[in-house]
Symmetry: C4
Subunit: 289 residues, 4 copies
């Protein structure tokens, strides 16, 4: 069950990814929220309670994962990233401050991007890939990823299989995400700042993700699941995640990989598609800013 | 199982329609989004990944469909419309830019409408019908449809069976749509621009559409299903669509038609109802603008 | 199975009510929407397609209902109210224009209220009760209901059984409503004007209403169901309504009544509770406007 | 099945809590709503209809509960708090006016907090704990709780087990809450003021809470359920609550406690974690207010 493609002979590849945002998405909506203790505690639950439980679950089931960590979070909680790596998982770049690239100019974005690299470097972490805050990548983002020699990005939605971005001499592998494989849309609720307004049952989420995994096995896709420890770290959601992983394992043809390992396999796959952002001719007379 | 009515002896007629909007609804909300790569890739998935899979599914099940394509999309992706038509499906008019008619004056709307016709003409496409962007038709829209000799429109909600609009000498068949038979309300999620905020399970959608189809068989209706390749083109949603079509086929009394063929049958049906927009007496003292 | 209480020996009383709003809630949001043909047709579906089907369903199952009709709607569609009454159902007062009482001053509200009465009077309709537009009753509303000798109002939520409002010499029976027994929250979708954003499956709605009916049988309540022909008049929703009514009938201890008949029974019930709006002491220093 | 930890040998502890807000959340959004009779009656249903039914249900099942009551509500309905306490339940502090602490300065917050204590004192109620309005506690809130000698707060989300806040000489036990164990997100609907926009079926809520309880038994957590009589007091929601409690009782290893009794057990547990709000270094250059 191995071949030369990015799937290595599997029907589908599953990458379990956890965005360890902690307080950053809230503070990016306003530094004043630092004085809003409920909201802060709601976010701190992620690294403090959720991450240890997730690590225990992954160890128990024997599957690797990738943790996208903002530099600010790694800085505030010095032991966090090291603990994740020690258990065989990957830590990857998730900006410094979790401000959206689309809300910054190129100078600001570069500063934020590189400040995170400095934090990771100071903690001895070897970084192979990147996910934009809020997935809101710009061309600057992709240029920074390539310029710093990272092998992959995981922010776009142009396909449901890995694809290539950039020039032939310095290609970047895109590991695409999608709203329907993210726990935020299903579980996030917070009125101020408003980050979500519906709380779905883990049973619905499990059913939906199981169906998508089966359909992705049929279509030979990447099941790139994005989760957040402050959301999925809660008891019944973890139980649903356990059921999902066990379901995938029982299928017998799903490989679990860290993003960096998948990116390496994808780079070695000569059949991989190139899907650069389309060169659209946007006439401002038709579509004003 | 044939008769002289628009149903041709079926209990219900099903028109599978796909609005191939690609980037247009986003650009209509702001040309600046062209620099927002995640959003652009989210939309490009429709024509690039969704449409080929949909065509394969339709061929596999042997059912025809209608693809409503904005002129701008046909222009940017030259081979797209031709491929659809070559496989026996219909390409129909879905504006040039996907800006809502209700947001334009009559001159702007005419220019947009006719620019799309020019694109279709240049690509050798014979156009029989029209669907307004966002379904937001005005009287100008209906006048343009009639003036250009199209046989049908598919934007209004005055019934759940085909009906006649316009004058006796130049009637237009309306193939009505409805929110509950649209994948957008069930699947669309995008925070900026905000196009939707809930992601339902395909299982819920399948259950709801199956129930509506059965009820429409009872009431002898048009099951006019509106889908978007960037939404329904994703794996488990396609599997649900396959199940829906197979369910309809198993009923034995549901006909699948292209919109243009249904419109022809409807025009030949002398019992068809006329449902022009009601001439409401709206007193501005009671209902100010 | 009869007694002297408002329930007449039933475990629960069911009042099926239909608010035949047609275009009014949209025009109240802006007269300009009269030029928005899709929205107008979406609303016209209610009286034109929904009401005939609902009348047929009620006749088929042998249950009476109450139709709350704005005066403006009765005026625009002259035969509508008469047809409803001829089939043994009740037509009741639902304002003239469907503007919320809370958005008008007392003079405006009185004019709107009485203009509707004039329309009903001109059409020979005998009106016994009232429901405020958007349920947004004020003290002026209740005073108008009492002053014009109506026997009941159906806009408040202070209990789930009928109760008395007003003074002993001119009491009004309140037949309370609730968001959870309204089809609007489950089915309404329209982006502009924004009237709702989620479309639930009729199966969910049926399950929820069935559970509420059973619980109301236990607690001896009024199952006062509020529906809208433009929403519930659609095929699979009507099928769900049929199942709900048949379910209630199969229980054997649920009475279906017109609101006016229930109000009469309630007035004759000496045990009925008085629940005037509480005389709250609201200090503007604590709660500024 | 007892031990020296806060769980006393149970797999999970359940605290049933009811926030008897009545009109306060609405009036805090604008004193003008006092003239909006439907909204006022919607809220009055809580203490007038919901609370008696809830007390009956709790007595029937033999489980204790905690009722968080704003001082204003206790003042407007003099017998309410006493009735609750007489039946063996706890009444606790839920602010005076239900304005969010995060919306007040320290002087205003102290005045509101102490005014509630005066009301409770005048009614002879002994208060042991506090829950912030909207859970929006500030450091001032926690200082007031400690300064007034209360043993616990129940507003934060830093864990799903009780934890300690404050200094060693004056610790406060935090009994954490969470959005997913609150009936507001599932049931609340009101357009003006907008307090919620989705109405879920009690069946979904029951399924979700049952799964969370089972998962919390596995992870040894506090099942701290927050309900509102104006929401959960309605018939089928009460039936679902009854099923939930009976389910928990059938598990045999879930203890039901009043919050004050749990807080005492937690204070005696030397293994309890300290989780003071993290001392975040928030740089205003990165995160402006």
């Amino acid at each position: 069950m191995t071949d030369a493609t990015w799937r290595g002979g599997a029907a589908a590849v599953a990458t379990l990814t956890f965005d360890v945002d902690a307080e950053t998405p809230i503070l990016a909506a306003g530094g004043k929220y630092a004085r809003h203790l409920m909201v802060m505690s709601h976010q701190a639950y992620g690294p403090d309670v959720g991450v240890p439980r997730i690590l225990e679950l992954l160890a128990d089931l024997g599957v690797p994962a990738t943790f996208f960590v903002p530099g600010w979070v790694a800085e505030q909680r010095p032991g966090l990233a090291a603990t994740i790596v020690e258990q065989g998982h990957e830590v990857a770049h998730h900006s410094y401050s979790h401000r959206a690239p689309t809300s910054m100019n190129a100078v600001e974005e570069r500063a934020d991007f590189e400040r995170a690299l400095e934090v990771f470097d100071a903690q001895g972490l070897e970084i192979a890939g990147h996910r934009a805050a809020l997935w809101e990548a710009t061309q600057t983002t992709l240029d920074l990823v390539a310029a710093h020699g990272l092998t992959y990005d995981s922010s776009l939605m142009g396909d449901d299989k890995p694809y290539l971005l950039g020039s032939d001499d310095r290609p970047v592998v895109e590991l695409p995400v999608h709203w329907s494989l993210d726990d935020w849309e299903q579980y996030a609720f917070l009125p101020s700042p408003q980050i979500g307004s519906v709380i779905e049952s883990p049973r619905k989420v499990l059913e939906m993700w199981r169906a998508e995994l089966d359909a992705m096995r049929h279509y030979r896709c990447l099941f790139n699941l994005c989760m957040h420890p402050f959301l999925t770290g809660r008891p019944s959601r973890l139980v649903a995640l356990r059921e999902l992983i066990e379901f995938a394992q029982s299928r017998g043809d799903v490989h679990f990989l860290r993003c960096r390992d998948l990116a390496d396999a994808a780079r070695a796959d000569v059949t991989l598609k190139q899907r650069n952002p389309p060169q659209l001719r946007v006439d401002p007379a038709v579509y004003p800013d």
